[in-house]
Every structure is written in structure tokens, then in C-alpha cells.
């Protein structure tokens, strides 16, 4: 019951209610994993679906994400215990806007969608040189690296990230994806990037595909 209510609070964008219910759930002995899967992620799934159908717009999605983040804060200590044993996420994605580019809205939307879909997202921020992407990959061991560029002048920096990952012998351990106003399939193909996403919602499917490719390669 309380799990459905958490999902409902998330859908309604009610931060206080979400926090309160999460605490209550843990007190009642519901496992953090269950709250995450059947409360948070199922709520985000509904919002994601409604957004796809234009029943809600971006500000509502952001508000639901805010609830998600607060609930996750409550769950964190309990989740940490679980993670010792098994991974609770579907995969890890490092995201950043390339060097010289200050734009973060598109990247943030992608981060939000991926978090809502159950991925762990490490957002390294805007204006990030290739070396920072490499550092993050070394530290976080993600399956996917996402690069964002809005400007025609900064799009070539995506190539620098690709090169830097190769030099650091990390390129075959991850799949890469790129997005942003000036990026298209053609650009991605020419520059050796693995995938292109035309929108934040498209990022979910692409990430799922890339993550499973990496996991299959590894196994």
C-alpha cells in the first residue's frame, strides 16, 4: 500500500509526502529495494509515459524527479547495505557537456530520464575537457559515456573525448553516445561515437541497448 502511495506522491510531485511515506515504509519494514522498484521507479515510469504522450510537460517531470531525489536520500543508508551484495542499478552512465560549451539543459534532461529509468547517472557538469571524461570513466566504471554539445564550435570536442578514451585504453570498455542541437546521426557515424539520441526520452532506449551490449561483451 505504502509503495503505491509513494509512487502516487511522485506522480503528483509532492516532495513532503514522498519523504514522509518513504520513512514510514522503512519503519514498517518494507525493504529499500522494494520502495525503489515498486514505489520510485514505477512512479517515474508513469510520469515518463505521460510525458511521452504529452499529458504532462517538462516542469511536471522535473518536479517528480525532485520527489525521487528526496526519497532516494531517505533510502540511501538502507540501499547502501544492499549494494554491498548486489548492484541495485541497471547500469552506470557518465554524462557531461564538452569543453567550451556552457549548455546544460539538454544534458540535465537526459540525466533525469535515465535516473527515472533506474540508471545510475554521474553528471560531471558543463565545459568539461576530455581529461575529465577519462577521469570519471576510470573512477565510476560506467557502461556508457554520454557527451552533449549544443554549439557547432564545440561539437568537434566530442572527437577529443573519443581520442582521449582510446589513449587511456578505456574505449573498448564503454559505449559512447552524443546529443545536442548540432549533432546528428551522420556526425556520430563519422566520429566513431556509438549512438546518437535525438531527444531525452530517446536516451532511455539507447542507453538500455548500449548497456546490454557492454554487459554481453563482458560476459
Amino acid at each position: 500500500m505504502v509503495k503505491e502511495k509513494i509512487a502516487e506522491a511522485l506522480i503528483n510531485g509532492d516532495v513532503e509526502k514522498g519523504k514522509e511515506l518513504a520513512k514510514q515504509a522503512l519503519d514498517e519494514g518494507v525493504s529499500a529495494k522494494e520502495v525503489l522498484d515498486e514505489g520510485v521507479l514505477s512512479g517515474m515510469e508513469v510520469i515518463g509515459e505521460r510525458f511521452k504522450n504529452f499529458e504532462v510537460y517538462i516542469p511536471e517531470v522535473l518536479q517528480s524527479a525532485a520527489v525521487m531525489n528526496e526519497v532516494m536520500e531517505v533510502l540511501k543508508p538502507a540501499l547502501a547495505e544492499i549494494e554491498e551484495g548486489e548492484s541495485s542499478t541497471k547500469g552506470t552512465v557518465v554524462l557531461g557537456t564538452v569543453e567550451g560549451d556552457m549548455h546544460d539543459i539538454g544534458k540535465n534532461l537526459v540525466a533525469l530520464m535515465l535516473e527515472g529509468a533506474g540508471f545510475k547517472v554521474v553528471d560531471i557538469g558543463i565545459d568539461q575537457p576530455a581529461s575529465k571524461f577519462v577521469e570519471a570513466v576510470e573512477k565510476e566504471k560506467p557502461q556508457v559515456v554520454g557527451m552533449s554539445a549544443l554549439l557547432t564550435t564545440t561539437a568537434p570536442k566530442i572527437l577529443e573525448v573519443e581520442e582521449a578514451l582510446k589513449k587511456a585504453n578505456l574505449r573498448d570498455k564503454v559505449k559512447t553516445m552524443a546529443g545536442g542541437a548540432v549533432i546528428d546521426q551522420d556526425f556520430v557515424d563519422k566520429n566513431g561515437v556509438d549512438a546518437y539520441g535525438p531527444s531525452a526520452t530517446a536516451a532511455i532506449e539507447i542507453t538500455q541497448k548500449l548497456v546490454s551490449e557492454v554487459k554481453n561483451n563482458a560476459s
Binding site: I58, G100, T152, T153, A181
Partner: protein, 488 residues
């Protein structure tokens, strides 16, 4: 004889009252004093540290209102942009309107294959020739981004060459960074003779963007400071999207936009007083379904017209937006969005109206759309002529002479006035259905393509003297060599 007569020589249009303009200006001053802005450039921070501005947290600059007032007082209210031969064809004063393109679209539809592909130097040159040929365009921005260059770092020089060779109309340029702008300036001096000649009769203005909200990037500031030093006209124009990089309320977006432009102006003033600054901004909304930055939204036109009112209040020329669309192709959506923005921007009296010919939310620099917008601008300009009301034009005597039940076709009054009073479309079809069918049932896109083929096949712009072209090419080669040696 009549007394106390008031004539509207042209239609009257305003969004904001004087009081509302003042409220927006004061809100901008408040933002500049309290919130401040980030300046990511060492020279800029040095200049602010040696002034009355507060510099906090390394690069956060808060500017007291009196500094803004001082910078505004020293800025010219009249700016001129000249054609290649020095003709002063774009005179920016109150309610003097000029139309032109936008710049740096990455994509174009190939006219042979119909496929979307990257812009080339030849495409930029084609766009320049189209604007050169069409009568309703007053200035040219590159329209597309020349991507068929060896080094991205020097694309601006190659692009400028393609622009200059394609049209002699006044230009507004974009540059990669301070060094790039310096090279463009030097290239322009090659055809105007000297730095002084350029200063007195500027052959281009420079388009520079801060990053909303309230941040100013390193290369933007390099360019701004170079313009201040050399008195090159600057369009310092934010591109906020309400709800995302600015408040969702349009008044809030305008206050923030103005603060961003004025922050740049104060910095330029510290470098050297008197920068010819043109304010503006592509002030629009983020579509909350798609996160699209909207080029065809009515909010764009409403906000731009309001910002134009503020520009008149401050006596700074305005750079507004029109003739662009979110539609991915030249279709009904493109035509209606472009029409609304061109007409609104025109009636608001903005000095420069840019982005005519943009498709695909600013990603596609269409040549077909340029041709279509030329016709729309022609019609819009006709609206701006207003209606002459006097004895000759009231024509009571002619009406009396013709009398009830007859017609005016054969009167000398009709012969004398119809050409002047009527608009003659170049693309629009007014044939009756039988003639239209007999002429092949052509639709607007057919007429656009025919006109475009005619221009691209036949129009030759004023050629660039060989020695000038060589001088300009030498500057490009020098820049390319420098980048190549840095890379190796």
C-alpha cells in the same frame, strides 16, 4: 486651413508603456547590482577590479547602477553599417527598420538531392548572392556555417571570404574568438583601405552572445573587448529561453536579458568608452513538450517587440528577430510563423531584424526560405507605409466626377496613383483558376524554386578586386598555417 491635426504617417504599435520600460530597466539594474554576472575572462576581471564594481568569488561581478548609467551615456544612439564600397545603407536610429539573415546554421537541404547535409563555403556564398539579389534585404549574416574547412578554428575567416565575395551589402559577422575577429577586421581593412576608414564607415558589425543566465564566456569577452578597443559595432545579444535559461514570465526574461547586455556594455566601457552597442536577444520560450528553443512562437515576437520598446526608452539600437520557423521544411507552418514574426518586428520599429530564412529552429539555413521571406518583407513594408490622408488622396472630386454606378478604371487619378498605392507581389499567384490551371497549377514552392534558380544561375555580385582578394586570402592562409603548426 486646418489646425491641430495629428497624422499617423505610419501605423502605431507598442507593447510596453514608458513606465513599464522603466520598470524593466530598473529591474535590470537591480539584477546587475545584487545578483551580478560571471565573467570568464582574465582581462575582464582585471578591468572590473580596477573599477567601482565588486568582484566576488573570483569571477562574479556586481555592477553599481551609476556605472551602467555612465556607460549608457557614452554609447551612441545612432550607428551606421556600410556596404563594401562604403555606402551608408544601414542607418540605425529610432524606428529605422532593416532586414537580414541570421548566421551559422549547420545544415542545408541540398538542391540536387533534397537531402539534409552540412553547410559549405559555396552554400554561404550562394546565400550571400541570394540576399545580394533580393531587394528587401538590407544586411547579410552568413546564414550557414562553412564546415568544409581544414581547421574548425579558422572557419570564420573562410566563411567571411565567402560572404564578401557573394554580396556587397553590409555584413554582420561571427568569429571563433578574439584572434579570429582580429583577422576578419584585417580582411575588411583590405577592402576599405584603413582602420580609420573602417571606424568611420564600419563594413560589419559583430554578433556576440553571452550565456544566459548572466554568464559571459571567455571567447565572447575577447571579442567584445576587441570591438571596444577598435570601436567596431557590437550586437551583444543573449538567447534566453523562458522557463529554462530565464524566468518563465516574459517581463522577467526581458529584465534578465537587458542586464546581460548591459553587463557587457559596462565592461566594454571600462576598456574604452563609446562602444557602438546594439542590444537585443532572441527572446523566446522553451517548448515544454520537446525542450525545443522556439523560433516560431508568438512569445518570441511579443517579447522582441517589448524589448524594442525598452531599446527606444534607452536610446540604443535594437537587434530583433523575424522570418524564422520551427518547421523542418518550407511549408505552411514556415510561412505563417515567418509572417507573424516579420510583421511584428517590423511594426515594433527594431533597427535590425535578423534570422530571415531560418528553418528547423535555427538549424537549417534555407535558400528557399530566404526567397519566401523577401516576399513577406515586401508585404510587411507595404503595411508600414500607412495611408496618406489629404485632399488629393481622399479623392472626393474624383468620386464626384465618376458618380454612382460607374467605375474608376479609366480615370487619370487611377493611372496616376495605382502603382504607388498598390503592392505588386513577385511570388504570389492571383490568376483565376482557369489561367492558373493553364499555367501548370503552380504552387508557392514552385514559384520560390523558379526565382531561386534564376538568381543562382544568373546573379553576379559586384566582384572583389583581385589584389584585395589576394590580401584577404593571405590572412586566411596565415591563420591556417598557424593552427596547423600548433597541431603538429
Amino acid at each position: 486651413m486646418q489646425v491641430n491635426q495629428v497624422h499617423n504617417a505610419t501605423p502605431q504599435f507598442a507593447v510596453l508603456s514608458r513606465d513599464e520600460c522603466e520598470m524593466i530597466f530598473r529591474a535590470a539594474l537591480e539584477i546587475m547590482e545584487t545578483t551580478g554576472g560571471r565573467f570568464l575572462n582574465d582581462e575582464a576581471i582585471e578591468l572590473f577590479k580596477n573599477s567601482d564594481a565588486l568582484v566576488e568569488d573570483g569571477n562574479l561581478v556586481k555592477i553599481p547602477a551609476f556605472m551602467t548609467r555612465r556607460a549608457l551615456n557614452d554609447s551612441p544612439e545612432k550607428i551606421t553599417l556600410c556596404s563594401r564600397d562604403g555606402k551608408r545603407s544601414v542607418r540605425l536610429g529610432r524606428n529605422e527598420v532593416h532586414f537580414g539573415t541570421g548566421s551559422d546554421c549547420p545544415f542545408i537541404y541540398d538542391r540536387e538531392t533534397g537531402k539534409r547535409r552540412r553547410y559549405t563555403r559555396k552554400d554561404v556564398n550562394d546565400a550571400a548572392r541570394v540576399v545580394d539579389a533580393l531587394p528587401n534585404y538590407d544586411f547579410f549574416m552568413s546564414h550557414g556555417l562553412a564546415s568544409d574547412v581544414e581547421h574548425d578554428e579558422t572557419y570564420d575567416r573562410h566563411q567571411f571570404m565567402a560572404m564578401v565575395k557573394g554580396t556587397s551589402k553590409p555584413l554582420i559577422v561571427t568569429a571563433v574568438d578574439g584572434e579570429g575577429l582580429k583577422d576578419l577586421h584585417e580582411m575588411a581593412i583590405a577592402f576599405c583601405g584603413s582602420e580609420d576608414n573602417f571606424r568611420v564607415a564600419p563594413r560589419f558589425g559583430v554578433y556576440i552572445e553571452p550565456s544566459s543566465p548572466l554568464a559571459h564566456g571567455d571567447t565572447s569577452l575577447e571579442k567584445l573587448l576587441y570591438c571596444a578597443e577598435k570601436s567596431i559595432p557590437v550586437i551583444y545579444t543573449p538567447c534566453p529561453s523562458a522557463g529554462a535559461t530565464a524566468p518563465a514570465t516574459l517581463a522577467g526574461m526581458l529584465a534578465q536579458t537587458l542586464a546581460e547586455t548591459l553587463q557587457g556594455l559596462v565592461l566594454a566601457h571600462l576598456k574604452k568608452p563609446g562602444l557602438p552597442i546594439i542590444m537585443g536577444g532572441v527572446v523566446t520560450v522553451m517548448d515544454m513538450k520537446t525542450s525545443n528553443y522556439c523560433y516560431g512562437a508568438p512569445e518570441l515576437s511579443l517579447s522582441s517587440a517589448a524589448l524594442t520598446d525598452v531599446s527606444k526608452y534607452l536610446n540604443i539600437p535594437m537587434f530583433s528577430t523575424g522570418g524564422c520557423t520551427d518547421s523542418r521544411i518550407v511549408d505552411e507552418q514556415a510561412a505563417l510563423e515567418a509572417t507573424i514574426s516579420l510583421e511584428t518586428a517590423f511594426l515594433s520599429g527594431a533597427g535590425l531584424i535578423h534570422d530571415a530564412g531560418y528553418l528547423d529552429s535555427g538549424l537549417n539555413g534555407s535558400l528557399e526560405m530566404l526567397v519566401l521571406c523577401d516576399e513577406i518583407i515586401g508585404m510587411v513594408k507595404h503595411l508600414g507605409r500607412g495611408i496618406k490622408v489629404n485632399e488629393e488622396y481622399l479623392a472626393a472630386d474624383v468620386i464626384d466626377e465618376v458618380g454612382p454606378g460607374n467605375n474608376f478604371l479609366r480615370t487619370s487619378h487611377t493611372l496616376k496613383h495605382y502603382k504607388d498605392e498598390f503592392y505588386f507581389p513577385t511570388l504570389l499567384d492571383r490568376h483565376n483558376i482557369e489561367t492558373w490551371k493553364a499555367k501548370g497549377e503552380k504552387i508557392l514552392n514552385d514559384h520560390i524554386n523558379a526565382r531561386l534558380d534564376e538568381i543562382l544561375g544568373g546573379h553576379e555580385p559586384e566582384p572583389l578586386p583581385e589584389d584585395v582578394e589576394k590580401k584577404m586570402q593571405d590572412i586566411i592562409d596565415r591563420a591556417d598555417k598557424k593552427v596547423a603548426s600548433q597541431k603538429s
